[in-house]
């Protein structure tokens, strides 16, 4: 029975060593100090972590908090998470994109907060300031998986300096540009192409290289302008063939193939998105459809593609529907929102401490600290957008028009098919009709023919 003693001693040893043990928590997200999403690292490492460690110490607990910087693409991060979670590893708190939730949940890789922390998760007083719509950003089927950093909207960003140089806006007039239809938007692009031949007039995301950025900043922004969404929320079916899809694809064809108002090559090369940021910063792109992230995190002073005099040379306009009133739900203008945030890793060894850190970061004080570094639309209603009138104006103008992606496990695959469809059109491989037929076929094999809408007439 000697081994029995060995076990007892081992258990004792482990037990003793946990008393007064320092807990290490790790957080990761797509953020690098001085690089992509730098503000997030600054906020966490400089404000949240020190305050949290202090607060825990006052309760007699020693914690160390580390942030693991991830500099790859969103797609690469998703890949990393899937692999980490499958083998039961990964950081305690994960920066997560809301639309990944259904896919990961269906595979059992993530769990709702309640299951990881216990029902005491609802004791947190912050919940009363996070409205239902915000909770759904990192939610699925009524369960909440994490806390959203905030939501966003998408607009057309344009270079005022180029617009003034071309004469679209009278120099020094302070006037703003706002197209009312696709035709007006295209006419501006045509005019810029004529007057400033060295400038790419309009870049609207297409192709698989940009991943979800194509679906959100490109495909949805055009498609919603034709009056439909990718998914019909009433019948629970996907639009496979529809005149709206064809109109949207023809818009792409006009921009990239027929009139070359945009540079198709720029959409297809490796590192395409970073390249568009660079060209917009350098004044080589006049109009770029992007999310408000582009304003507050890409171009903001101190960011990777900073424009020092951003507020003077960059302005924004709402994306018009094809015709006034022809947009989704009969709107004149369209936009779509997504959101990222933080979830708890179900494999965490310290669920209570991890939740303590997460809820601490989302306390009013810490969220206000975040607003000082990077003002934006936050998930807490008691945290206003401060210090950036452009950001608050954007939110105010566009939140009434916004919609969201369907939170379904099949969405990411269908999103890829939409990216592929735009790629086939802008590269001239296929006509819009052929690309749409291929898309409908792919949809049928993903969700089954009964869940695909095939409509020839409006």
């Amino acid at each position: 029975m000697r081994w029995c003693w060995l076990v007892v001693m081992l258990v004792l040893g482990v037990g003793l060593s946990t008393v007064g043990e320092t807990i290490t928590l790790t957080v990761t997200a797509r953020a690098v100090r001085g690089g992509v999403n730098s503000a997030l690292v600054e906020w966490l490492e400089d404000r949240v972590f020190p305050a949290f460690v202090e607060w825990m110490r006052s309760q007699g607990k020693d914690v160390i908090v580390n942030f693991i910087q991830f500099g790859g693409s969103d797609e690469a991060l998703k890949q990393q998470y899937a692999l980490d979670l499958k083998v039961g590893r990964g950081a305690d708190i994960l920066g997560f994109d809301g639309f990944w939730i259904p896919e990961f949940d269906a595979a059992g890789l993530i769990k709702p907060l309640e299951e990881i922390v216990g029902s005491q998760v609802w004791d947190w007083d912050g919940w009363s300031y996070i409205p239902q719509g915000m909770r759904e950003i990192l939610g699925y089927r009524g369960k909440v998986y994490g806390l959203p950093i905030g939501t966003d909207v998408r607009v057309i960003f344009y270079r005022c300096d180029l617009f003034e140089k071309a004469g679209v806006i009278p120099a020094g007039s302070g006037l703003r540009w706002q197209p009312r239809s696709w035709e007006e938007l295209l006419n501006t692009a045509r005019y810029i192409k004529k007057v400033l031949p060295d400038v790419i007039p309009l870049q609207i995301n297409a192709g698989t290289e940009m991943g979800e950025a194509t679906t959100m900043q490109g495909w949805f922004m055009v498609l919603l302008g034709t009056g439909i969404h990718m998914y019909d929320f009433e019948t629970g079916k996907w639009y496979g063939m529809h005149p709206g899809i064809l109109e949207a694809l023809n818009f792409y064809k006009t921009v990239y193939v027929d009139e070359r108002l945009g540079d198709a090559r720029l959409q297809l090369i490796p590192g395409a998105r970073a390249r568009t940021f660079e060209l917009f910063r350098d004044g080589k792109i006049a109009m770029l459809v992007e999310g408000d992230w582009f304003w507050r995190s890409v171009l903001a002073p101190g960011s990777e593609w900073a424009i020092p005099n951003r507020n003077e040379v960059v302005d924004w306009a709402m994306m018009p529907a094809k015709e006034p009133g022809a947009g989704y739900r009969g709107q004149n203008f369209v936009t779509i929102s997504g959101g990222t945030g933080f979830i708890l890793n179900p494999n965490t060894a310290h669920p209570q401490e991890a939740w303590a850190l997460l809820s601490f970061a989302f306390s009013w004080e810490m969220q206000m600290e975040f607003q000082k570094i990077q003002p934006r639309i936050r998930s807490r209603v008691d945290v206003p957008v401060i210090g950036d009138p452009v950001m608050s104006e954007m939110a105010k103008a566009l939140l009434p028009y916004t919609t969201v992606r369907p939170m379904l496990p099949g969405y990411p695959k269908i999103s890829y098919q939409a990216q592929l469809m735009t790629e086939r059109v802008v590269s001239g491989q296929m006509s819009p009709e052929e690309a749409m037929a291929e898309y409908a076929e792919a949809l049928k094999s993903i969700v089954g023919p009964e869940s695909v809408i095939v409509l020839q007439e409006k």
């Binding site: 890949q79 692999l83 990944w100 595979a107 698989t208």
Partner: protein, 305 residues
Amino acid sequence: MKRRDYVSILPRSVAFAFLAPAVLFLATFLIFPVIWVLVISFTNTALTGPAGTSPSFVGVSNFSQLFNFARWMRLGEFGNALVNTVIFVLGSALLGQVPLGLAIAMLFHKRRGLSRELVFSLATMAWILPGVAVAFAWIAFLDKDFGNLNAILSVFGISKIDWYFDFPLYSIILFNVWRGTAFSMLLFSAALGNIPPSFWETADVIGASAWQRFRDIIFPLIRPNLFTALILVTLWTFNVFTPYLITGGGPLYRSETVSMYTYRIAFKFLEFGRGAAVAVIMMSINFILATIYLSLQRRRSLYGR
């Protein structure tokens, strides 16, 4: 042929005991994974989505999807990747590395001095440097606006060429020739060194031309090495993944080879079932190539040169 009976110095059981660790090792790390991949290839196993928790048996549908001839030559489909791979292997291994390696070896045969050391060192460097580092160097080298190659060409009045966009497959072929020529070069250099000096002296005496020397001395004597180089280089080139770091298989999947395709399906789409099906096909091709190589190797060792 008759098997020779060796006098055994160990009892059979002891011999098996000595073999056991190696067999166990092979079984754990080679045979079991291969069987596992084969099993998975008949399921819809995926890392995310509903198939992540409850994968099901889907028969041969992963394979029939790969060989759906109505669409398999579309950019981004399996057929396209297969054709790209064939062009890549033919271009970079059979037409590139092996002849170039042989040419360099012959050029510097029986020569010593700085030029030989320089060429051999540079070629070997290209071969042994880490893939990630050379990939970055090549991205810079062939860049449209700032690349060295276009800068050099512009001296001759040639306008900027968008290598990675207009010639992605040729670009990675060129890269792979540069990258792997050293192996053939070293192999042939050693083979040439093994040719008895008397052969060259005889050739000198009878006044053989360069072509006659190649046809009657070099070619017959290095034929086995030539064959080794062709098969091994084909095998490696077929599986090579470094070009992914340069073009990512793009643009529009025009430089996507089968190994990149497998990676995309299995590790970017996280669909292990479909990825395994491609892997099974890749393994079969490798297996055929390796069998040819080994059987010829064996024949050679049995009959001698």
